[in-house]
């Protein structure tokens, strides 16, 4: 197990390193002169040079790269060119919206998908089982932002039960903040739940066709008992993989849903900075998101090793 953990950790670090180089090159390479991008088309050469000098953008790329990555690991994400605010401060206050939104969305998705997927796998010949299959197929085709718009039309505009957007701080009005997050979380959870249901269903179906389940059934267990006692751990493996892969999707969904409900979360900040061409802010926050996704994948991989001895023993 130790060897397995070390290998996975090494790959995690390698992946973060590779991704940081990719992001750095993409921004510096594809974008060209960063100072020119920031100042816009009308900037004079002198102004561009002055800005480049002030922020050290005229130094060799390698130096700039190690400076940037070193600072990230020290918790310093750089400063905004326009407002001179520290990016770290901007990010931390916004995570208090994005993280609860993202995590609750995932939990709601699992809460929908695990029972619905299991039921439809065990009862594919019954009307409700078929209905779940159809609903999840349709749900996969629904863009998360449209779900958000429809929910806010219904519960916000028509019924007036919940806010259609906006945000009050956790400390100022706790329940107000919760109310602001309800519709975004439901939108995220429903759409994520629809695609997860499919995976849960096929994972359970696979397990139910295994010999060990047949053996368990032969001892007199019902299908449900067999699933819970011998099937669950096996079905958990592919589901864990899919959840890991869905994290990238979930982040994308969170970005969009924050826009639908005008929540001032992390992604709204990135979007505003994309529009303002604050290249350094975008570069650092994007890197932060990637590290987060990779970290979740690392945890999924480690869980995999715990759940399945074949994985950690494989060379």
């Amino acid at each position: 197990m130790t060897l397995y953990i070390v290998r996975k950790l090494a790959f995690f670090l390698l992946a973060v390193f590779a991704a940081s180089i990719a992001i750095f090159l993409l921004i510096r390479g594809a974008g060209g002169n960063v100072a020119a991008i920031i100042l816009g088309k009308d900037a004079t050469a002198d102004a561009i040079n002055a800005l480049a000098q002030q922020y050290g953008l005229d130094r060799p790329m390698v130096v700039q790269y190690f400076d940037w990555i070193g600072n990230i690991f020290r918790g310093d994400l750089g400063r905004s060119f326009r407002t001179n605010e520290a990016v770290t401060d901007l990010v931390v206050s916004r995570l208090s919206i994005s993280i609860p939104l993202c995590v609750s969305g995932l939990l709601l998705g699992l809460l929908i998908a695990i029972p619905a997927g299991t039921y439809s796998a065990l009862n594919s010949d019954k009307p409700l089982g078929a209905l779940i299959t159809i609903l999840s197929q349709v749900g996969i085709a629904v863009p998360v932002f449209w779900a958000g718009i429809l929910l806010s039309l219904l519960f916000g505009v028509r019924l007036g039960w919940l806010p259609t957007g906006g945000w009050t701080n956790w400390s100022a009005d706790f329940w107000g903040a919760v109310r602001s997050l309800v519709l975004p979380i439901i939108s995220l959870g429903l759409i994520l739940g629809a695609s997860l249901t499919r995976y849960v269903r096929s994972a359970v179906l696979d397990v139910m066709n295994q010999d060990y389940v047949r053996t368990a059934r032969a001892t007199g267990m019902t299908r449900m008992e067999a699933l819970l006692q011998v099937g669950l751990r096996n079905a958990a493996l592919p589901i864990a993989t899919v959840v890991g892969l869905q994290i990238a999707e979930l982040i994308g969904g969170t970005v969009i849903i924050e826009t639908v409900f005008s929540l001032p979360g992390l992604s709204r900040m990135i979007l505003a900075n994309v529009a303002a061409r604050e290249v350094i802010v975008v570069q650092s926050t994007v890197m932060l998101i990637i590290i987060f996704v990779m970290f979740i994948n690392l945890i999924v991989d480690l869980l995999y090793g715990v759940l399945d001895p074949r994985v950690r023993l494989a060379r």
């Binding site: 993409l26 863009p143 718009i149 039309l153 505009v157």
Partner: protein, 290 residues
Amino acid sequence: MSAIATNKPAKSRRRPRWLSNTALLLGIVISVAFLAIALLSAFYLPHNPNVPRIPDRLLPAGSPGYVLGTDVLGRDILSQLMVGARTSLLVGAGGALISLIIGTVAGLSAAAFGRIADETISRGADILLSIPGIVTALVLAATIGSGALTTVLALSAFFTPSFTRVIRSAAMSVLQEDFITAARLYGRPTWFILLRHILPNVAGVIIVQFTLFFAAGILTEAGLSYLGVGVTRPSISWGMMLNEAQQQVGISSPLAMWPGLAIVTVVLGLNLLGDGLRDVLDPRLSRRGA
């Protein structure tokens, strides 16, 4: 993950046959209609979708001359939807096509050119997979500016690693077959075996994946254009229409219905087509989708 032994094919049928057949039929009908409308929009539009006609603003569906009504600037909704179909087709299919080409080359290489090639390509794909597509799109929008081409690039970057993995695993299983060993013994070079024997055998997988990524591309494009970092006017995207509609949603909710319905219908149709084709072309994979 590939260390897990794959299970033998299921004996029981996964879903009722009537459901599978209806689904495939529906998928074909929707996909063909979508293609037809997208093509038609290049030759015929009821109105110019970008020209505002303020006196005709916010007409309801069924108004004379405007089948689906007009938006807040008096622009014809139907014409916008038709151009939106063309955008979805070009961007979605473009992104899927580029990732198909790169993914097939990379996947086949990983499968056939030894352990080092395989490790490099597979680990590279793993790394790329953990970068959310939307993040790539944002980075590209911040550096080279947003637009249809940027969106296609972002989609390609996002889909290529998944495509590579699927093609790799399909090619791996074909490589186990006896006729490959026979071809090797016969002295055929690896590239010949790849083109002559592997490629035709993974063609089904490629077609199925293309259809599914096409659908995913349309969804992603809509999302990016909704955020304002995808397609911009004078091009029109369904996601962009939804963004514009949302700002007026208090006034006229039908505006938020049409583009959404268009996205759901087309994505559903392509997904059904992809799943149906998988049942037909690639029975080995059909277990997974269910």
